[in-house]
Amino acid sequence: MAVEPHTVEHTARTLMDHLPVLQVLIPFCTGPIIVFLGSRRLAWPLAFVASALSLIVSLMLLWQVKDGGYIAYTLGGWEPPLGIEYRIDAANAFVLMLISLIGTITLPYALISVADEIKRRDHTLFYACWMLCFTGLLGMVATADAFNVFVFLEISSLSTYVLVAMGADRDRRALTAAYDYLIMGTIGATFFVIGLGMIYMATGTLNMADIADRLADQGANRTVRSGFAFVIVGMGLKIAMFPLHLWLPKAYVFAPSAVTVFLAATATKAAIYVMLRFTFSVYRPEFTYATNTLEMIFLPLAVIAMFSASFVAAFQTNFKRMLAYSSVAQIGYILLGVAILNETGLTAGIVHLFNHGITKALMFMGVGAFVLRAGGSFYAQIAGLGRQMPLTGAALVIGGLSLIGVPGTAGFISKWYLVQAAFERAPDNPMYLAIAVSVVLSSLLAVVYVWRAFEAMYLMAPATDIRAKEAPLLMLVPMWVLAIACIWFGIDTDLIAGAAAQAAAGLFEGSQGMLEMKGAVH
């Protein structure tokens, strides 16, 4: 007996219905197009158009889901669990927006910075790699298929290694930085795959909602627990969670300036999103093993990261390296918010994910402008440059204040939420009072390391008699867009905090949220 082919009802789809996949597909196709055209003049415009289109798509997606709900998109019309599903809700629409926003703002900046730091013949391939990295980051956030996350993770990682190694034209240490990152990153990604294998053994599915569904039925067992542990350690390496952060400082310091801007603001953030998705949606908050992990392991490690990395940052002689260590500390704040385990804490984590993204991008852009004019980022080299390049200097001051968390800047909002979240848990557990205090104390360390940079920029005598020119307009505009954003989001909190609260609420419903969503599909 032969099986008749199914008759599928055909429904016309518009471009709007395809937004979730377009988000990933636009940069994904642009990368190879740049390579095939092989034209250095066309590479940058194509990359910029693709990024701008991605930004528009991500804003349209965020608009549709910002009040709750989700968009499910089945690739090729294959229903999950057989096919791969993309699922956009408030949490990942928010991260998609951050990634494409930073990508779009960084590219104009990159044009001059890359021309200065990388050999001309490599420019075409550089932008192709950039597009692939962009694709990978967007893909791992957009997808709702656990194995698909791994594939996109590797797309972004492999292109990141190449981008970091491009710094070799300036300093050969970029090569070993890229190599170290490759070894650590591959171990991390492979751990993630082992975890997925164990989850697959226990549930027999790879669709996240489906996994959540089946895990809820079977409860905890050893396979499920070790799967969780492997996923978290694997993602921890990608996040640069203390003490798995060893690859980060070297990679950030020796990568080309534009690459550092892009990576610092997006790569670790996408990995944090995946970790959140696994801890809160795939495993549920009621799955005590996961919440215990957060409370017993993440919380202390986050606090240690906040202090130790800030402390190390305060002793650096190189602006770029100082910012790299500061990143490790700031990731500690994000993880602390998550580990406090209430909705305010999760909101704080997600708000800080965004605020730290724009702040750190701004800071690294400023350093990149100094590198362009002074040839290096050591404090001795940038001495007095803040006075000679007043617009760059002023933007860096705004970024530095936001990094500290001064009221009126974006950084203040996230720390406010963080302290508030800790106080909410304080009545049950006095330990959280100490955590609220530690947030404030470690911010004081940030004052120290940011002040040292300001001192070098403004108070020290210039190293040479040659006056440095102000940074070119194409670098200043992205910098000031971000600087204004830092202040804007420090005063008008509705937009970011509102979206983050919605995302946190969605995540905190855990698998319950996922299950209800699943019900809505059928």
Binding site: A2, V3, E154, L182, T186, T317
Partner: protein, 151 residues
């Protein structure tokens, strides 16, 4: 005694032991060896262990290769299908993807080693560390005396 050496248990789980031994071998090589190429080899062994783990969990006991029987018109023969157990092909497909990723990682790693060899004239991690320490010391001697030597 029988609880400690439950042979049946060991035999049933042999593939897991194999997976763990391979995985640890690979990880150990990555951590221990200073030769950059050997590290890549270790990374490969580590990844292969995961491939074997995935492939082994796809096996259904008594299951055959997941190829559907066809009739003479190349339609799936559902009558012949009944009663046949198939192994799960999905993990194999996933691993095909992972193998491609592994090859990409290996080639990129080796390409980086070639560049490192050109730039440092060695592929031994300890030598490279020494060279980099010297470079850092030079940098500090040149630029580190800002802020009265406190920077």
């Amino acid at each position: 005694m029988s609880e400690l050496f439950d042979l049946r248990f060991l035999a049933d789980h042999a593939h897991y032991f194999l997976f763990i031994v391979l995985m640890m071998t690979g990880l150990y090589i990555v951590v221990d060896k200073t030769n950059l190429v050997k590290k890549i080899v270790g990374l490969n062994i580590f990844q292969v262990s995961v491939f074997m783990f995935y492939i082994s969990i796809g096996k259904v006991s008594g299951g055959t290769a997941p190829i559907l029987p066809m009739d003479d018109k190349f339609h799936v023969d559902t009558e012949a299908m009944a009663g046949i157990a198939y192994s799960n092909p999905l993990p194999h497909v996933l691993i095909l993807t992972a193998i491609v990723v592994g090859i990409a990682t290996t080639s990129l790693g080796l390409a980086l080693i070639v560049r490192i060899r050109e730039a440092f004239d060695t592929i031994d991690e300890e030598d490279i560390t020494h060279i980099e320490q010297d470079m850092t010391r030079e940098d500090n001697a040149k630029h580190g005396n800002a802020m009265g030597g406190m920077a």
